[in-house]
Amino acid sequence: MLAQQGKWIGQSVERVEDAALLNGRGRFIDDLGAKPGTLHAAILRSPHAHADIVSIDTAAARASPGVAAVITAAELADITAPLVAGVRAPIETRPIAVERVRYVGEPVAVVVAADRYLAEDALDFIEVSYKPRPTVIDPLAALAADAPVLHEGLGSNLVSERHFTYGDPERAFASAPHRVSVSVRYPRNTGSPMETYGVIAEYDPHEGAYDILANFQGPFSIHAVMARALKVSGNKLRLRLPPNSGGSFGVKQGVAPYAVLIAAAARIVGRPVKWIEDRLEHLSASVSATSRVTTLSAAVENDGRIVALDWDQIEDCGAYLRAPEPATLYRMHGNLNGAYDIRHIRVRNRVVLTNKIPSGLVRGFGGPQVYYALERLMQRIAVTLKLDPLDVIRRNLIPAGAFPYRTASGALYDSGDYARAVALAVEKGGLDDLRRRRDEARAAGRLYGIGYAAVVEPSVSNMGYITTVLTAEERRRAGPKNGAQATATITLDPLGSVTVKVASAPQGQGHRTVLAQVVADVFGLSKDEIQVSTELDTAKDAWSIASGNYSSRFAPAVAGAAHLAAVKLRSKLARIAAAQLNVRAEDLVFAGGKIFSRTNPDAALPFARVAATSHWAPATVPDDAKDALSETLFWTPPELTAPTDADAINSSLCHGFIFDFCGVEVDRVTGKVRIDRYVTMHDCGRVLHPGMVEGQIRGGFAQALGAALYEELAYREDGAFLAGTFADYLLPTATEVPDITILHMESPSPFTPLGAKGVGEGNCMSTPVCIANAVADALGAEAIDLPLTPAKLAALVHGEEPTPPRDMFKPRVSKPGERRIIGAGETRVRAAPELVWKMLLDTDVLASVIPGAHGVKKLSETRFLADVTLGVGPVKGRYKAEIALSDLDAPKAARLSGSISGALGNGEGSGVVHLAPDAQGGTVISYTYEGAVGGKVAAIGDRLLDGAAKVVIGQFFAALARQIGAEEHRPGLMARLLARLLALFGVRR
């Protein structure tokens, strides 16, 4: 059923959401306030990538002011159960570490206190003793026989392996004249919404029920996971969503384990508990897209036609498998041929675990990983066979007459005309001009390239696709799973006004505006007369497992369901009006706030009066129009069937098409990429609101640009997390995002009520590889992995930079979870070396002058113990520092060694200080330091950490100079300066 052309659909009306947001009256979770007596939680997280928890001492933290409870795995054991995942495996996933930590950032303890400041204070007093284990970060290394195993019950790090064959790939590969392959590594990145996670939870012991308010985004299949983890039935877990959510891009699905954690904490303390995640927590321990190692081969004819594909995908889901994972690997399973007509496909899928943050939903969800390999392969085929890459794409496109097209692995592509979309993009996007620009740039000796990407964008996920990870036999045992239920409720009140409720959980996509447009068109009302609520409450609203906002399902599924519910209600209203007007219901028209007969427009009634009839005079309503008060409609598309015994799966309902091309220039010296022009052509079916579609494309493009050039949740080989701040995890800003050319064509979907398809994720699939193809073209590079940082590209242009020579320190091997810092400096003071030397050894002076010191104890003439508070960037914490002086050469030189430990990190290292007399009777103090830090502090990346080191040490010596100047006879300043240095970086050989 297709909607008749209405007045509102298709218009870029101003959004009903915006006035409140523009005035600071949004209602995000942290804006809502909480019940009196609500306590606040802060979470202690693992500084180690992999370690046994030997002991946790919470006594001091419990005695800290305002603390109600300190909760560890032991306290949660009885009231929580493991979080189940998308595949049964002997892995226990809990919201808090049990006896062992497996990634940096994993929750170890929760402090619940009167306010957040007090809760964070108390974190510093929890003493955890860890015994580090070997770590594994690389997914290939994780598969090795001697790899450290994360979960002993599993026996290895391989959670799942499945082989699939569609068609006859073996024969195709044997007979094709060419075999072209690519090996790519898709990195870890994330959506990083501007609002972090938030949870406010409460437990009612009398009803045995939880009430959780969280900025969760769905899918609500996770509600079942949460209820089971909290050991309650579904109706004892009321999950509510705030009216506004500050972006999600999939990521806010990952609030679920924290909702369980905070809810259980609320039960323990008997009070409501609130937790708002901070950014460092978010980057290190919320959710990441999967990283994936893919080897993809094609059997290719001489003209570039692909006859078969051979996929080998190794999916890295991090330290634990969290529901719905390993869904990222299977979301695209029906689309492994992309936009191309390829009948023979072989697949080997492996899911591995590594010491990284567990993976989850991130915009694009499996698409970026698949298309990075597939479209790189298309470019490599062109280069290998010396063909035009655009010709290779064109020759393989699914022909327009083939729709609906069943792919080899089971997807049913609903509609499209890919060749026409490409032709339109080439013409309107000015490809010829771009080619000229490339030729000119190259003639001038510049590195310029053009890249292409053709992508099928799936939307409205089949909830059953995840079960493709199981064998047919396992699926039979578990029972079939399929569908994509969408729901909408339309209510008429006694004044005849219309309210729409949906379980769509928007995070800024303007759902309320579009639903008002859709429903206004059905009833012939103004969009401003329709009130829309998207605040889902599982205790009161209609919902199902597919509810929520993901897989770009709003326009095709949710808006469609609202349309169908309105149509159903309209037909009842038509019968009521027909009886009152004495005309035929089929002749009635709903327009301009009236219901009137098309044959006799004078026979008219106000819409509101008819809509209110069932409230005021139900007995007068005809039998076939009873209960015209409220209509709740559940819609599921019949096309979304469960996987077949042969593993064919229609993984999504709709399939939009995108064709992108771009021109980029790589700076020959710096390796920096400049996007010269970017053209993106979209066919997302019928467009409901052009302004919002453009917003989705621009926003998706900007995120994809970040994934292509800047963003990586980077880990060092030993598991240290290196991207804990926005100074390290670089989101594109306005100066990085170029203007783009957006083109459209519309092939309505025959499978959705309004003909719409999803559009929100496409550029996250097409753009990274389109840019990579252009860069590969510019550099003539064969293998190229994201992110395309200047350092990486400069290395491709110039070869690797030689390692700079190290000075007086022997290079030192880092331990797992550490970050190294080195530096040197010099300062002058007016006091003579002898005086400075004396100060250096004076403990009392040390104690009184070290900034942030709570006390210094002298253990011996050359050993000190200090308790200090230090902050680097957003990470401030209390540390214990042990400092020793050695290699004493009075009054010329000394070595200071030390180690520090605290809740936020640990460190050790050493420094050498030289004192030399200057001509004016003063002293030149020169120093070098080398240290290694681990834990939360180490997650602060290079920019902040090295910068902070420089600043703190610089200030330290500047202060020394000042103090000596002011109080020349007061000794010990040198020592406090050095101690401060030590405390920060730990200084020991």
């Binding site: 005035n23 600071g24 900007a702 926005f726 800003t733 306005a734 100066t735």
Partner: protein, 169 residues
């Protein structure tokens, strides 16, 4: 300035959006927390608490500042403006706000408060900015939804409208 003690609360008086305001805070409390949780001015958002994202930008004596890097006690005697003070009346949007709505320059709206405050301050000193200058101003903010282009279009349009209004006054 009086000496502050870590454990004690101090009364801080200032003006918020033109009206006298006060809160009683420990010296360590951030301005963001005090505005949001003590005064209920929740329009100023917190996105990173390390001064990069710009969500929390407010105007302190006319200058844009990161409220997450400002201590509440530093507000003493200052004039503070936040997003709640932009609209000329509850039912009307300012010219800049209206331009943002017209151009779909916001989606989730979380970063919007800080961006509007920065642009408000910038347009007051630079009534005829180029797109390039606006891009520079916006580069102090992170938005994850829009890709920024509609914001620049909105700011250019608002600047033109403001100039026009200035001529007609």
């Amino acid at each position: 300035m009086p000496r502050l003690n870590a454990g004690t609360r101090h009364v801080v008086r200032f003006t918020l959006n033109g009206r006298p305001a006060a809160f009683e805070v420990e010296p360590r409390m951030l301005l963001t927390d005090a505005l949001r949780h003590l005064l209920g001015a929740t329009g100023t958002h917190v996105g990173c608490e390390h001064g990069v994202c710009g969500c929390c930008t407010v105007l302190i004596d006319g200058m844009p500042a990161r409220a997450c890097l400002t201590l509440a006690v530093q507000a003493e005697g200052c004039e503070i403006r936040t997003i709640e003070g932009l609209a000329p009346s509850p039912a009307r949007l300012s010219i800049l706000q209206a331009a943002f709505r017209r151009h779909h320059a916001l989606q989730c709206g979380f970063c919007t408060a800080g961006i509007l405050m920065s642009l408000e301050a910038f347009l007051a000193t630079r009534p005829d900015p180029s797109a390039e200058e606006l891009r520079e101003v916006l580069s102090g903010h992170l938005c994850r939804c829009t890709g920024y282009a509609p914001m620049i279009a909105a700011a250019l349009e608002a600047a033109a409208k403001l100039r026009e209004d200035a001529v007609h006054v």
